[in-house]
Amino acid sequence: MKNIMDKIKVGVTLFVVATAFYIVASDLGEHGKKAGGAGDIWWTGVPQINAAYEDLTRE
């Protein structure tokens, strides 16, 4: 049973890492067409967040 669990853990880990690698390598997120991205870790670094707040509060 422990062996099966270990194999599942390794399988899930490899799947997650391989999928992430595929996404980055194939640029599935189309980086050039979008504002923001996972590299911006805080709201002050993404102008769209403050703009959205200003828009909503104005309304």
């Binding site: 899930v12 997120g29 979008k34 911006d40 870790i41 002050t44 967040i49 959205a52 707040y53 828009d55």
Partner: protein
């Protein structure tokens, strides 16, 4: 009980001892934060000059010649501030620090150049991640030179950055989406934190890794990297533990940024509900905007504001974790003895006072104009200090220690289980609060 705490408690008994205010590194993170906040608010310092984003135009786009003097001035400001602090809390090391710090700063600039390459940055490989990678490459290949270790003041950099981060935690924005925003961001998130921390202790039995557990839980439920840094510092997590939490969060952010909009469109979920769902679940703030843009303008606005409201929670969670750790986990042997307030005070990491204080001042006491003018300056320095901190973490870490933590897979199981629970409960909350069936939408 920790020797230092006993000494401080005795001193406190014998009378008020104010010397920790200028002799302790922890206090200096508060003072440096205050110095920079005041200087930025009165216009004494400008936004730090740092390498720019670049892509097809080549690496030289990142550091044009006219930017170099500004980068040097930024380096000198950091050098003066940190040398001043080191002079007071570790006088014997200040000369070595002053000589070595420029190298750490240059490595940090290198991390910015790498992290600002647009295609990679989009997927999360930013300056903080590259700082860690550069540090790790040095420490695990040529070994960190002894002179560089003299300037690797990780806690000084990271906690000063956290005090500055506090300034952008604006509690006055909490009600931007009314009750609905609170429903998704402020009910689900604390629930996930509590349930998953319980899960880590009772089911996964991570009793010896409490700080790692709460750091991972905060990263997955609040806002990834920033939450991991703030909660890790509040729970006194090891440097490698914060790095591990950030690495796991980075991988899952890449997946969720692409898969969540695809799922929302596949199942025909209303874009507003989808936006709220993405805002409440995707870790990195920028990834929330990138993912929700695919669902339309309104969805992007809802997702952005939900994320901003959720970001605010990190102030409360980090403060709560600091108090809980000081009260419960660092308590003396007998668990029945109640902890005196003075002991909690002595154990509390002091940067948390600057962190919360900055947040309250920027939320309730400064004018909108001052806040708008000051935040970009503080944000620039905050990001730079985090980058210097992760250069230092990398320089002091080795792969073997990091691999030990992953052994057994518990951190990954904790993140995966927590994120699945987060995704399910946030979807339910997004439907309840943003489908328009139960509450009137505010736009």
């Amino acid at each position: 009980m920790n020797k230092g705490i006993v000494v401080e408690a005795k001193k406190a008994k014998n009378g008020l001892d104010l010397s920790p205010l200028w002799k302790k590194e922890d206090w200096w993170t508060v003072w440096l934060g205050i110095i920079l906040i005041v200087a930025a608010a009165v216009g004494g310092v400008a936004k730090p000059a740092l390498p720019k984003k670049w892509a097809e135009g080549g690496i030289l786009e990142s550091i044009p010649v006219d930017l170099i003097p500004g980068i040097l001035v930024t380096g000198v400001i950091c050098w003066i501030l940190f040398s001043l602090a080191v002079y007071f809390f570790k006088k014997e090391q200040v000369k070595k620090f002053a000589v070595s710090f420029p190298v750490i700063f240059l490595l940090g600039i290198g991390a910015y150049v790498m992290g600002n390459y647009a295609p990679w940055r989009h997927y999360g490989f930013n300056n903080v991640v590259w700082a860690l990678v550069i540090g790790l490459i040095i420490s695990n290949t040529v070994k960190t030179p002894a002179f560089l270790k003299n300037a690797a003041f990780t806690e000084l950099f990271i906690k000063t950055g956290l005090v500055l981060l506090g300034a952008s935690i604006l509690f006055n924005r909490v009600l931007a989406l009314g009750v609905m925003g609170l429903g998704v961001a402020w009910i689900v998130t604390p629930l996930i934190v509590l349930v998953m921390y319980w899960f880590s202790q009772k089911v996964l039995k991570m009793k010896d890794d409490k700080s790692l557990a709460i750091t991972i839980v905060a990263a997955l439920s609040v806002c990834g990297v920033s939450a991991a840094i703030a909660t890790g510092a509040a729970s006194k997590a090891k440097k490698e533990e914060i790095s591990l939490a950030i690495s796991i969060s980075l991988i899952f952010t890449i997946l969720m940024m692409i898969l969540m909009p695809a799922l929302i469109r596949l199942f025909g979920i209303d874009p507003i509900v989808g936006g709220a769902w993405i805002g409440g679940t995707v870790d990195a703030t920028g990834a929330v905007v990138a993912a929700s843009t695919l669902l339309g303008e309104e969805a992007m606005q809802v997702a952005s504001v939900i994320k901003m409201i959720q970001n605010i929670l990190i102030g409360i969670i980090a403060f709560g974790v600091a108090v809980y750790w000081a009260t419960v986990y660092e308590k003396d042997g007998d668990s029945k003895t109640s902890v005196k307030p003075i002991e909690i005070w002595n154990r509390m990491p002091k940067f948390i006072l600057g962190f919360i204080g900055a947040s309250l001042i920027f939320s309730f006491f400064l004018s909108k104009e001052t806040v708008d003018a000051t935040l970009p300056v503080l944000d620039g320095y905050r990001e730079l200090f985090f980058t210097l901190a992760f250069i230092s973490i990398g320089l002091e870490s080795n792969f073997k220690d990091m691999a030990k933590m992953v052994k057994g897979g518990k951190p990954l199981v904790l993140y995966l289980t927590g994120q699945i629970l987060n995704i399910v409960i946030t979807l339910a909350a997004a439907y309840i609060f943003f489908s328009g069936r139960f509450f009137a939408l505010p736009f």
